[in-house]
């Protein structure tokens, strides 16, 4: 099933090709990460482009993925999808626009070897999906 982010009333959500809502329209930005995952950015009206600081990841059914973030850090984005998933993601990127995946390819959670970009005191670091820092934010 294809889906695209769309402007609705100044905020962005995701609907499928039958106009069924997948992700509610309450974000300033939604990036398609591949394999059915979407990364959202909250709205912060005082910001020049209304980009907020809260990032989350949703799956293709609109379920919010629970992420383990190291203490004292905030989630800033998916950094690497992991060896196997990254290969699939690249294949998807090359072959499909918009993406048309088999349901078995759609991710419901992040792979065990995926990496997250995290932020602490304005410095970036990298953590694994278990919530362990692999690169200190410095």
């Amino acid at each position: 099933m294809a889906a695209e982010s769309a402007f609705i009333g100044g905020s962005i959500g995701v609907v499928d090709t039958h106009r069924h809502q997948i992700i509610p329209s309450k974000f300033s930005q939604i990036d398609y990460l591949g394999l059915g995952l979407y990364q959202t950015t909250s709205i912060d009206l005082p910001d020049q482009f209304s980009y907020g600081k809260i990032h989350e990841i949703y799956d293709h059914d609109g379920h919010l993925l629970k992420l383990k973030i190291p203490e004292g850090c905030t989630f800033d984005g998916l950094y690497w999808m992991g060896e196997k998933a990254e290969g699939k993601r690249q294949a998807e990127e090359k072959e499909n626009s918009p993406p048309m995946l088999k349901s078995s390819d759609l991710l419901k959670y992040l792979p065990a070897d995926a990496l997250l970009r995290v932020k602490r005191n304005n410095y970036f670091g990298i953590s694994d999906v278990q919530g362990n820092l692999v690169l200190e934010p410095e």
């Binding site: 962005i12 990036d31 482009f49 950094y79 690497w80 990254e86 626009s97 970009r117 690169l135 410095e138």
Partner: protein, 300 residues
Amino acid sequence: MEKPGDGLAMVFKGERDGRYRRKDAFVFHCRDHSLHTVDSTAIFEQLEKYSDGMHKFSAQSRGVGYLDENGKIAIAAQYYDGSDFSNGTAMAVIHEGGGKFRHPQIDKLGREIAAQSPLIGEQSEQEKKVERIKSRTLADFRPFDKMNSPWVYVYKTEKDRFIEHTLEERKHFDSYAWKQKCSPDRNRKEMFGDFLQDYRLIGMSRRQVVDLLGPADVGGYQTKEDYLRYQMEPIQSESCTQQSTTSIRIVFNTEDRVDYWYYTNGFAKTPSVKKDILLAPATYLYPMFAPGEISAVPEL
């Protein structure tokens, strides 16, 4: 920190040192989480991405070179420019002086594999076609239909230089690839052509522009222009004595909507495009269109 390419990425400790240049750079391996110190003589003027285990870098005044996956200099900085590596090779750009450039294919040791394509100074078939309408004034065209026929955007500057958009194959704009500055088969110029075909840029809100094209490489308020600027590759131009990195500048009006756009390379700029692309069948392009006839072309 960069986005990883092939599970490798450049990361930087500490504060930014200048606009693009940074100190304390490391190569981070996503697979085993190892960190390798980057050769201190390699300077990054623009964030790139690892591709095929090699990372393009530029050293001030010496040109472009490549780092290996351990952060060591694999090919010393010596080229005018170069492509990313793919399947063990990359295309280097060597400036031979007098506006002439050579494009040898190189391997991971910097050895030339085969001579590539004619010198840029030589006229291609497409350039000859452009030549036929070189006396015309600013015009931009694209086909009436939605078929895969080529469309061309041409402009003429005071010095008879041209830039053209020629898309042999129509494709939809890929926002993700544009934002990543990475597409397997489309350069930035072609991607922007795709963008112009799919969207009406003039009148678009700043937010929509940023949503589709991502944050600008440079933005600001200069010479009474409120603009967003996106980097393009060097663009070939007829009888051009120099090449430089071209960017597109999108200028906003007081209502924060796109007023016009143009190309600029820091030294010169093209005429501003103030309305959405005009439609014209590809067959109309050659050899007609005298000045004045352009107004007869139906608007989008």
